[in-house]
Symmetry: C2
């Protein structure tokens, strides 16, 4: 990696932590300069605008969160076991993410009423996550590990909703209890919904 | 109501919609002046700071959301029926709220990493909501309408988590599907968890 590429990468990493913690609107270019230790000219040598940085920073933060989850899942395991690993990992690996909570949640809330480019990034991240869970649930039904009465699409939506809401409650209350409750809820659900052997 | 009180109330209402839509950090004093049609002097005659307006605006937005929900619930009905009415109302009455989604969710995300006074408001709102659901679930267990295996506190947390996460998904996707899925999920759960007669 060239020196320029390294600086660019460092800006993205610092910006990801800053935007995820203080929000995009709540972070000024001056905050970015403080976080990166760069002068304005140094920053704008690598990026055209704060928005361009925000888009790259979202990709970085989301990829880190997604990869952390994926690494906890054995893709050769059965669909039900993969779901089990997913629910456990979502609760356990919050700290491995970019500081400031879930980048999807933060960006969704901030970008839902404006900022169309960032909003689209968040929509794509959500869609990818929904598809991942929907596919696992569908495979679990096909392999008879899960009850055929489960609706894959709406269940995937309910899972993500509860996990993301639990991140919000955990951040607000300063306690992991809501995250642990959500994780335990879906692990119990997995057991209860298992198709009869 | 005096003319001054009316102006004060109008500022709070306009600020609530503005902050709930664009966020507190994303809304400038200039945005507030545009929204209210006031000059700076007119605004600061009623409030000392943008933060003071934000605190009042949160109270207004949350009270409106809470009252809308409460009005849909027959407090003389059985605990299970009250929970049913609550799940239905949460999905149906989103439009009766201040524009921009759930004020608790928006404020929680924005205030979790700073802004301690606003954060405390959001914490109190969450606590009140958790207590309300926890009490209803406990009463439902006592009256044998709900299974004694349900843990009131963690279940209340999971309910709020899913509903708030569904608001996020609905706002991001521009569709009510996630809200309807979450509402249906908990209505099904209520039926399934009912104690045997």
């Amino acid at each position: 990696m060239s020196k320029g590429q390294k600086t660019r990468q460092r800006i993205i990493q610092e910006a990801a932590a800053l935007f995820n913690t203080k929000g995009y609107a709540g972070s000024s270019v001056s905050d970015l300069l403080t976080a990166t230790g760069l002068h304005k000219g140094g920053l704008y040598r690598h990026f055209e605008s704060k928005e361009e940085i925000a888009l790259q920073a979202f990709d970085y933060a989301w990829t880190l969160a997604w990869d952390t989850l994926q690494q906890a899942i054995d893709l050769n395991a059965s669909p039900k076991l993969q779901l089990t690993q997913f629910f456990q990992a979502f609760c356990q690996h919050q700290e491995a993410r970019v500081p400031g909570g879930c980048p999807l949640l933060n960006t969704a809330i901030e970008a839902d009423d404006g900022n169309p480019a960032l909003r689209q990034k968040a929509q794509e991240a959500l869609q990818g996550w929904l598809s991942f869970l929907e596919t696992l649930i569908r495979q679990g039904i096909e392999s008879s590990e899960l009850s055929a009465t489960i609706a894959p699409q709406t269940t995937a939506s309910c899972i993500i909703a509860m996990l993301e809401g639990a991140v919000m409650i955990s951040c607000l209350s300063g306690s992991r209890a809501a995250l642990e409750a959500a994780s335990a809820f879906w692990l119990d659900w997995l057991d209860a919904q298992a198709a009869p052997a």
